[in-house]
Amino acid sequence: MELLTNLGIGLSVALTPANLMYCLVGVFLGTLIGVLPGLGPTATISMLLPITFVLPPVSALIMLAGIYYGSQYGGSTTSILVNLPGEAASVVTTLDGYQMALQGRAGVALATAAIASFFAGTVSTMLLALFAPPLAEIALKFGPADYFSLMVLGLVASVVLAHGSLLHAIGMVVLGLLLGLIGSDVTSGGQRFTFGLPQLADGIGFVVVAMGMFGVSEIIRNLEAGQSRSGLVTEKITHLMPSREDWKRMIKPILRGTALGSALGILPGSGSILGSFAAYSLEKKISKYSHQFGKGAIEGVAAPEAANNAGAQTSFIPMLTLGIPSNPVMALMVGAMIIQGIQPGPSVITEQPALFWGIIVSMWIGNLFLVILNLPMIGLWVRIIMVPYQFLYPAILSFCAIGVFSLNNSEFDIFLMALFGLLGYVLSKLDCEPAPMLLAFILGPLMEEYLRRAMLLSRGDPMVFLRRPISATLLLIALLSLLLVFIPTFSKTREEAFVDEG
């Protein structure tokens, strides 16, 4: 019954008119920046940080939290409509979401994303309320060796993301790993591939690569298609809401995506990014529609969007219960708490129950707001892609440039984005897909970091990866997945058979 009392405290905090308003403002802003390509929650929250000084701590955090999960939610909109992932987690949503849009099913894709996100948000908020402290303790059991093995599994899974040639996918993974090497070496501080440019000392930003490879290159590709086109989508937009058949197909992927996303979101580091990739890979492996993946399968939108939003909620667990920020946005939230005079840490739950439970309850309310806010907007959003390209493209490019600039206030990043735009165009001509590269780009540096840390801790003994049960299990799964990928001829001919029939 303690839970009911706690939820009661939370409700009494979150339901005050002022806090309801801050929650609404937060999710609205979040949706907005999520929709604007390149502008991410990190930049927005750091810009809004000074404003929150004058707010009461709970209201400030409710609003900042709303911005964060609101942007995870809004990020899928541009992924689906214009092939622009604003967030690492929405990269996979482009794969099938954009295809659905091209087929005139943008409305269905957006609605699917909204429904999946809402369901996942509700479940993971419940998890947060019920089990936050014990879950945080479990996450602490993960050592560097276990993280390394998790990343290996993620990398193996990334090959599955591609629907074209296996060789190309592996090539892109390697390219992503190499790009991830750019920057300072964690251990020695040595500069790698920075060409003496201080702007490269901290590596290349993910958003820069994503905006270039997806956004800019997509625009170049479309311009090539000639003057005849009036918009991105030539197909007529059919209905906006999912049909009965769509509903049937999305339920199970949403459930699995929520489970995977929640679990990975708890892990500090890049757990929440892995969530959407993992959910997509899993669906592609087990779905009976796996041949449709990459060509507009609704499962390919439902599962990663559920995972993405579930992870966004559960990534609050380490921050709220232990005071450990699991990603840059959480680090900003910790900063906001400190400025407000609250020391984030294990004592927050007991010393500030109103804050802790208020935020949790507000998250559920925020998710509700997001659905109410977004479902009616779908009709409006889909019209964006009907905008003639001579207006749409310059707008997208400007937003990309603004977003990328806002990361470090550095014009260098804009040029870098343009460069990646060209690279992305050339690679697309060569039938190389950017998604595996991007995942490798995110995972590579993390993998290296964990590998070296694990080896330092074990004093150079590689057996540590097999001795730790979590690590050994993950490596075993990775090995099995790899075997599945490399049973080549069988799966290949099957896929071709499907194509022929179609």
Partner: protein, 325 residues
């Protein structure tokens, strides 16, 4: 041709009266404080609080701009290149004094390219360890580390971070080389310390106090001369048996070289007033940092501090053989 003398006269006059007139008007527009780290961190918090209070006493708006990267050197380089008109100032921590030793190709000189304004805060550090680390006192820890130097691991928040510097100083002080485990920031390091993956770490009270109070990690001592008010039961390193081990994560304000003296004077005064502001003092106390006494919030004191610290860290960093570039 006849007009020339006038022009010369005017120019000479302008030169003569230029800076005083300018200084009287100062500040007539928004002042930017560059923070060389990302938003939300301890330096960012100290900077924002200081900027807000200084702006009030200068009756002008002071905004902050985060120019993060490469251990604060990207922000510092930007300031070194800025116009010395008093509208760009800069906050940095102890890293300003270690950069010359850590970076072989620093695009600026910490002594010649900046005009010191004054010190802002002192930040004590704590020696903390995982909950189940066997030693119970600092003396035991030192003996344990010497006896198990192949096993004991020391975490830090990355190359050049305060925790890295303090760790190197500790190993020098106890004359034992331990395995150093670098992390990208305090968060992940603290995570592994709480999870028992690494043995110990020396980090700022800002980052450790709540975990200490929550009983998630053990504490052995604070690195300042006097005990810290927020952790009254924790002995100083000196009391705990390691004399002369002092590390202070100090923050200070600088302006680009050539900023006129009258402008600097105004900034110094604003800084000193900010450090007396009730809200600022309270927030600093909550952060676990100590505002400096008025006589240290001066260009002279900062000049001395910078020199002393550069000389203190250079041999330690050199001996450890680490470079950040």
């Amino acid at each position: 041709m006849r007009k020339m003398p006038h022009v010369h006269l005017l120019m000479a006059l302008a030169l003569l009266v230029g800076s005083p007139v300018f200084a009287q008007d100062y500040p007539s527009k928004v002042i930017t404080m560059i923070i060389p780290f990302s938003a939300g961190g301890p330096t960012d918090t100290v900077g924002r609080l200081t900027a807000q209070a200084m702006g009030q006493s200068l009756k002008s708006q002071m905004i902050v701009e985060n120019v993060a990267g490469a251990g604060g050197t990207i922000g510092a380089a930007r300031v070194a290149r800025s116009d010395p008109d008093g509208y760009t100032i800069f906050i940095h921590h102890i890293g300003q004094s270690t950069a010359p030793s850590l970076y072989r190709k620093l695009p600026y000189n910490v002594f010649n390219d900046f005009e010191p304004i004054g010190l802002v805060t002192d930040g004590p550090m704590t020696l903390v360890a995982r909950k189940d680390f066997p030693p119970t006192t600092l003396k035991e820890l030192i003996a344990y580390a010497k006896a198990n130097k192949d096993k004991v691991t020391c975490a830090n928040a990355g190359l050049g971070a305060a925790s890295h510097l303090a760790g190197m100083l500790f190993m020098t002080a106890i004359d034992t080389d331990l395995t150093t485990i670098p992390y990208k920031g305090t968060g992940p390091a603290m995570n592994d310390l709480m999870g028992g993956q690494v043995d110990f770490m020396i980090d700022q009270t800002t980052n450790t106090t709540s975990q200490i109070k929550g009983g998630k990690i053990k504490v052995y001592g604070v690195t300042t001369k006097k005990r810290v008010p927020s952790l009254p039961d924790v002995p100083t390193m000196d009391e705990a048996g390691l004399p002369n081990f002092e590390v202070n994560v100090w923050h200070a304000l600088y302006a680009p070289k050539g900023t006129p003296k009258p402008v600097i004077d105004k900034l110094v005064k604003a800084l000193q007033q900010a450090l007396k502001d009730q809200t600022v003092m309270q927030r600093f106390a909550e952060l676990g940092v100590v505002p400096v006494a008025e006589d240290r919030a001066t260009p002279e004191a900062l000049r001395v501090q910078l020199k002393t610290e550069v000389d203190k860290w250079a041999p330690i960093i050199k001996k450890a053989g680490v470079y950040a570039d």
